[in-house]
């Protein structure tokens, strides 16, 4: 880097090519160490899995139009909902925001050239793909029918489907998240630009950091647990099956020890995205920065202590249940804090109703409903009736699927110009954001009622009295699908638009908007030095603090 010209907005005449232009061979993509290219690889692969997961979802919804089924056998149905769950959770929701948006933005946001371990980052993508292939093979060889929860002893002793292969897939994918998590943690600790103190970090970075902590602490537990299932299944080493002297409930403890925090692996990065978007489109510094940052850490910590709320009817002792219920109420508080702080951010702002902000509105709606319905399930008595019914299905779709997906879309629409240097058709974007919001609610609101009326989940056949609500839900899923297809269409079409776009179309006041769009391979020309924190949305902001440092 010999050039000493100011790099604000990357207008330097001799600027090197963008990361997209930096090499055109397939090899230059598949062997890249560039976090941005890896993010693009992830985006493509995550989208493929999302497509198949959604395909499975729509098969489920069509099947449930009739109380006796439409086209599938009950065994096939069980395999389809299992495939839906496994694909969506392990191969879409968990990696989506961290591995795509986090990977792309985290280094840029803290003024670094790349993640701390670029090759580990690439390895994590390959692990993800390898894990995914195992999953695909398991489906190709006939599928799995255990549900994504793999409850023992069904999974370890009774199911005669491809449990082992699927578990190996999930196991490998787990290492992919661990690699990403370690990379993020080290990067945030070691690679921050001069002047980028902890409390000048954009909140997206705090969210990713908290997520990484959960990933690194939790994923090994589930990986080993799943491996134990395989051991029992293949070598008959008794761990979970009472026939072999094991304890089936032990599996649930170990599984939920990871899988409850996994909910926060999905939601914390989503909240991180919402922070960035809401402050940018309200043109006001985010309200209560410290509270939001610490609430992420509180969620990450407390989230590890509430797993037993999945087990109020599984024979856990009454007092154990009480502790888990109480802690579950406590972990709800930091989420509430975030919602109130976001609301206060909009107050006296100057709101631009652009697509990313529309998604923020949608997110707030879904997240509030999802979070509050969680309180029914954290309450021990109501949980007895509601657990393992459609109420739970609706609840976790609101918090994990809806909120995560909508935050991902908010982020994609916000940073699309950053990633590809192009804008999309805003009118279509507004329409599809409305379709997605309406479709999502139409799909899942009826499921709350189904559940509280007593419809158990994972039912292939059901009582005729539940049909109307199932039909409504299925129609909703079509609206949702229409919105998603439309989104895919105009985002892809944006590649045909001319590039001549401002580097910072939204006037963002975080470091990633201080470089070219799309950025060059090294993100910044020279080393940025921060003068102050993010989100200076005053009408006449101080320079965000990128200063050229000759070196």
């Amino acid at each position: 880097m010999s050039t000493a010209a100011p790099v604000l907005h990357g207008e330097s005449p001799k600027a090197p090519p963008s990361y997209l232009q930096a090499g055109h061979t397939i090899k230059s993509w598949l062997l890249t160490g560039d976090h941005k290219r890896i993010a693009v690889l992830y985006l493509i692969s995550v989208s493929v899995f999302f497509f198949f997961g959604s395909l499975a979802a729509s098969m489920i919804r069509i099947e449930l139009v009739s109380p006796r089924g439409v086209m599938l056998e009950s065994d096939t149905y069980n395999k389809v909902f299992t495939a839906h769950g496994i694909i969506m959770i392990f191969f879409f929701l968990i990696p989506a925001i961290p591995a795509v948006l986090g990977n792309f933005l985290l280094p840029i946001m803290i003024g670094a050239r790349d993640l701390a371990f670029p090759r580990l980052n690439l390895l994590s993508w390959y692990l993800y793909v390898a894990g995914g292939l195992c999953g695909v093979l398991a489906i190709a060889f006939g599928g799995v029918d255990t549900g994504w929860t793999f409850y023992t002893p069904y999974s370890s002793m009774y199911s005669n489907t491809n449990v082992t292969l699927t578990i190996i897939g999930a196991f490998i994918a787990g290492f992919s998240s661990i690699a990403t998590g370690i990379n993020f943690i080290v990067t945030v600790h070691k690679m921050r630009a001069p002047g980028m103190t902890w409390f000048r970090l954009p909140l997206m970075v705090w969210g990713s950091y908290a997520t990484s902590l959960i990933i690194v602490l939790g994923t090994p537990v589930v990986a080993i647990t799943l491996l134990l299932v395989v051991m029992e299944r293949v070598f008959h080493i008794g761990v979970f099956s009472p026939e072999l002297g094991g304890d089936p409930v032990l599996f649930q403890h170990l599984f939920w020890f990871y899988s409850h925090p996994a909910v926060y692996i999905m939601i914390l990065p989503a909240m991180g995205v919402i922070n960035e978007v809401i402050t940018c489109f309200s043109r006001k510094r985010i309200f209560g920065y410290h509270f939001i940052a610490f609430s992420s850490l509180a969620i990450a910590g407390l989230g590890f202590l509430v797993w037993g709320h999945h087990m109020f009817v599984s024979s856990q002792s009454m007092y154990q249940g009480m502790v888990f219920s109480l802690l579950s109420y406590l972990v709800a508080v930091p989420s509430a804090i975030k919602v109130f702080n976001w609301t206060a951010t909009i107050y006296k702002g100057s709101v631009r109703f652009q697509t990313p902000f529309l998604y923020v509105l949608g997110f707030m709606g879904l997240f509030v409903v999802g979070g509050l319905t969680g309180l029914f399930l954290a309450a021990m008595s109501t949980d007895v009736h509601l657990t393992d019914t459609y109420f739970v299905v609706a609840h976790f779709h609101y918090v994990m699927a809806g909120s995560n997906l909508i935050a991902l879309l908010a982020g994609m629409h916000y940073w699309w110009p950053k990633m590809y240097g192009r804008l999309y058709n805003k009118k279509l974007a507004a329409i599809s954001s409305a379709l997605i919001f309406v479709g999502f609610n139409l799909t899942f609101l009826p499921q709350f009622v189904l559940g509280s009326r007593g419809m158990p989940r994972r039912y292939f056949n059901y009582l005729p009295q539940f049909q109307d609500l199932h039909v409504a839900s299925t129609i909703g899923s079509w609206v949702l699908a229409a919105g998603l297809f439309l989104t895919a269409a105009y985002l892809l079409a944006s590649f045909r638009q001319p590039k001549g776009m401002a580097a910072n179309p939204w006037g963002g006041r975080t470091l990633e908007w201080e470089t070219t769009s799309p950025p060059t391979t090294h993100n910044f020309e020279g080393q940025p030095v921060l003068q102050h924190g993010p989100y200076d949305y005053r009408p006449e902001p101080a320079a965000v603090g990128v200063k050229e440092l000759a070196h």
């Binding site: 549900g147 509270f291 024979s315 009454m318 509430a336 702002g349 029914f376 009736h385 509280s452 158990p456």
Partner: protein, 332 residues
């Protein structure tokens, strides 16, 4: 318009449960509307270009943060406490409850009354009488769910769990399996018939739906099995060197070779028969043969018989009173 959120209220738990449910629903709607309205109102009022006063906006406010931390926290604690109290009741069956034994297996429910009447996928119970279900699975985990009663409890292999209810009105109610258990999980259901007590007594005495009166009771069957398997060779009225006496075993405390003290509840006794080497009585060695081929039904009958040999806490409850959902600590 009839758009119920809940199924019929047909047990003692339904009303208190529904009260909590509706309060939670009201809070959910209230907060959703509150946040939704505030967000939309602020967003529209402070939209770009609108001429409103924007002066005095702050970036943080400790008082506000404390307020909106404290209010959800307090509300949450109240909800937690309320729900926990109700839950505790659902886990503490009265001592005089009528006993029904449940065996879940892929994919049917097998139910047994103490007097020997059996049913499949159907359960007849009297209205107004507490009924305790002692449940075990023969294979994978199932869950015994009656929406109109607002009860649900997982049914595990290898150890007993229990739940109880008082049916509050006569009728036919749904029984579902709520824990995914394989191919025909959604078929694994049936009905609970709640009947006026006299009618129920008649039904029971006449031998149930199959009309087979004067069947051997579970304890009779257990005794027959006990004799056939010659358990008495080693287990007599007194402790001998061949084996400990089972008289008064129920609910007694036993010390194991590893020094732990366990309560001889249903799950412990079951395990002692099916898998005797898992825990070994302090004064003995592992000389008892394993009776692995015994079915869950056999084991329940044996338990019923051993119970007639007296309980440590006579006239205590029939199958142990470990309080919470699970009766026994087998496999822990």
């Amino acid at each position: 318009m009839n758009f119920p959120l809940m199924p019929d209220q047909a047990s003692n738990f339904a009303r208190p449960y529904d009260a909590l449910f509706f309060v939670l629903t009201a809070l959910t709607i209230l907060f959703t509307i509150l946040v939704g309205a505030l967000v939309l109102f602020f967003a529209v009022r402070y939209r770009k270009g609108s001429r409103v006063d924007r002066s005095g906006a702050v970036e943080s406010h400790l008082g506000l943060e404390i307020t909106w931390t404290a209010i959800p926290l307090l509300l949450g604690l109240v909800m937690f406490w309320w729900a926990a109290k109700l839950y505790v009741e659902t886990r503490q069956p009265p001592k005089d409850a009528m006993e029904v034994f449940v065996i879940g297996k892929q994919w049917m429910w097998h139910l047994q009354h103490s007097n020997g009447v059996r049913e499949n996928n159907e359960l007849h119970v009297p209205v107004g009488v507490p009924v305790r279900l002692t449940m075990i699975s023969q294979d994978v985990i199932h869950s015994f769910f009656v929406p109109q009663f607002r009860i649900k409890q997982d049914v595990l292999p290898g150890r007993y769990t229990q739940q109880w209810f008082v049916a509050s009105k006569p009728g036919k109610f749904n029984l579902f399996c709520a824990e995914y258990c394989g191919t025909q999980h959604s078929e694994m259901g049936g009905y609970i018939y709640a009947m006026p007590p006299q009618e129920f007594q008649k039904w029971l005495a006449s031998g149930g739906d199959k009309k087979r009166p004067n069947q051997p009771t579970m304890a009779d069957l257990g005794k027959a099995l006990y004799d056939r398997l010659a358990c008495a060779n080693c287990h007599g009225p007194q402790d001998t060197e061949r084996g400990p006496s089972l008289y008064g075993l129920y609910g007694a405390k036993r010390r194991m070779t590893d020094g732990t003290v366990v309560e001889a509840d249903a799950s412990y006794i079951r395990e002692s028969i099916k898998n005797p080497y898992a825990k070994i009585n302090e004064s003995y060695q592992n000389t008892m043969p394993e009776y692995r081929e015994l079915t869950e039904e056999d084991l329940l009958n044996l338990l019923a018989y051993i119970r007639t040999l007296g309980t440590a806490k006579a006239p205590g409850p029939v199958l142990g009173n470990a309080g919470p959902a699970q009766i026994g600590g087998a496999n822990r």
